[in-house]
Symmetry: C2
Subunit: 362 residues, 2 copies
């Protein structure tokens, strides 16, 4: 078991990474004598709920569980309300810890419930997808979607503990493994060129789910994200800071929204969106054609799409204007100054943004 | 204009108190060049919306406004969603400041919208009721009701600025002036005996809306609340701390819920609930009969009820068990050790709690 501490002063917390942690009482020792409400979904529950319940009961926690439907389409108010109803029906109070067992949707929903139930209760993440392990484990972002936009409603709420059991990746569908890998690659692109090189060397073995290599990739990803987040917990930095984590996300959100939520996985949209951001960086003279080619290739080796749907550049721009990365009316994008170094940039000419989009649509 | 600074380190903010502030550009100078979304209700809008819009426009803010229905019955998800819809339709982004113009319901709803829209936007309170001026101005509590309980969903979200224009109290219905006075009296009871004595000396003139006396009472109330909140921002203190502000609230919430939300005003329920708490304190030997009598009399001089509805003690206890003041299953109450000194207490015998409730029902 590896431990990575996310340093956020009084809100600091550990991320435990390793095989078999769901069945390891020592990972959950802090819950001895506490009331716990596990929130999971109907895909994950048959695989891992009994195991986690058993471990929590073993450490002396009082456990209740809620099983929600699976999918991004349920990341909405109605499902959130099912969590509130459950907590109230079970008479959960401010001392109850909410444990999210599942992927990003479960983590975002449960985390937002934890942030807002009785104005905030303790929260623990047990991510079971690669994406959730390398992304939502660090940063404290929680929330739900709104018909007009993704993650429009939410809060920052830090977990007390994250337990990433790499065994859970063995049951992860191929497509979701790929989607998680898009975010892993992102960390290399924005701030860790040696990690990008390492990924280039090991992508096939990672996609074959080599446990040891995956554990390294998860830890390195979380460590990279943690360093960014520690300097900008609430995403208030004007330049750079946490915004850099959104490489490919503004384009990606447009892809997800334009195609209709649930058609593209988040990580898939991020991969294609990242290629758009890299193409724009190339047009601005910061990357070479070989750089864009190399990254596209790496995404493809991770079985990820590198082209967005052909919605037309204007539709993309309209959807992008709804994204949170718009500040006081300006379209602020994350671009690469070079491989391994990202920056925020609000001066890209609209003509170049349009051209980058059109070039990178299928 | 008086200024009181609420000291919460990087979340510190000023409360401006005085006559005519709604029309005073200097009170809102910080909004120059900002986008602002005013949220108000259909009672307050005809009285004060144009005035505030004019002042904000004068300082150079870009203003949009949303008028909601009036009343505690609308402090729910549906109304909150109307705020989200408005903000999204107006393409408000993270740089937009939400301004709550109204009483506690508008403040709680708008504050929760500010806490959760795009994971948090700046928030300004312009309270137009005495209750909101002395209570929700300080503390950062925001939220909505749930069919199973009041304020069950919410967040802590500090305003950047509070502007309390005492002129707005001239249009406040008598019943709401009284409800606000219940909270004013509370500050005297829990920690400021000289203020309680002052209230005893001036209650009739306060109820006659003497502006200067009201301004003093508001400032003294906010200062008292601020001192409590500064030591316990997130209500995490095990003993005392912010919980002391809830004198009368656990009984009061039971009255509000038991009678059906909207029948009793919050302050009315707090007055009757406070008498229950004082009666229990008397039964535990901390107060004399004359103390309880004196405070009941003071509430009555403020035209407040001092008896709860006769729901039966068991129904009260059941409703109280749903209140957030229950921690790990124990009923923790705020009681008075003596007039001017409150404490949290979890050891009151159930028989005495029942007796105090029965004694104080009409």
């Amino acid at each position: 078991m590896q431990t990575l501490t996310i340093d956020l002063k009084e809100r600091s917390y550990p991320i435990l990474i390793g095989a078999g942690l769901l069945a390891d009482p020592s990972a959950f020792a802090s819950l001895a004598g506490r009331r716990v409400a596990i929130v999971t979904n109907e895909t994950v529950a048959p695989l891992y709920l009994a195991r986690l319940q058993g471990t929590l009961t073993q450490v002396g926690a009082g456990v209740t569980a809620l099983v929600l439907p699976d999918g991004e389409a349920y990341k909405n108010w109605e499902t959130l309300n099912r969590i509130y109803d459950h907590l109230l029906a079970e008479r959960c109070d401010r001392g109850t810890t909410i444990v999210a067992l599942g992927g990003g949707v479960i983590g975002d929903l449960s985390g937002f419930a934890a942030a807002t139930y009785q104005r905030g209760v303790p929260f623990i993440q047990v991510p079971t997808t690669l994406l959730a392990q390398v992304d939502s484990s660090v940063g404290g972002k929680t929330g739900i979607n709104h018909p007009r936009g993704k993650n429009m409603i939410g809060a920052f709420w830090q977990p007390r503990l994250v337990v990433a059991d790499t065994d859970t990746l063995n049951t992860l569908p191929d497509r979701e493994l790929s989607a998680g890998m898009a975010e892993v690659i992102k960390y290399g692109l924005i701030r860790d060129l040696p990690f990008l090189d390492w990924l280039d060397d090991h992508m096939e073995r990672l996609m074959a789910r080599d446990g040891e290599l995956l554990a390294f990739a998860i830890e390195r990803s979380c460590a990279n994200k943690a360093q960014v987040v520690a300097g900008d917990e609430l995403e208030t930095a004007k330049e750079g800071g946490r915004a850099l984590l959104n490489l490919g996300h503004t384009f990606g959100h447009a892809i997800e929204a334009g195609a209709g939520y649930g058609v593209w996985l988040h990580g898939e949209a991020v991969a294609a969106g990242t290629v758009m951001a890299l193409e724009l960086s190339r047009r601005l003279g910061w990357l070479g054609e070989a750089d864009v080619e190399r990254v596209s290739k790496l995404f493809e080796r991770a079985h990820l799409p590198v082209r967005g749907p052909r919605l037309g550049a204007e539709r993309y721009l309209d959807l992008m204007a709804h994204d949170k990365k718009v500040l006081e009316g300006r379209l602020r994008l994350v671009l690469l100054k070079r491989l391994g170094e990202a920056m925020t940039y609000a001066e890209a000419p609209m003509s170049e943004i349009r051209a980058a989009i059109e070039t990178c649509c299928e």
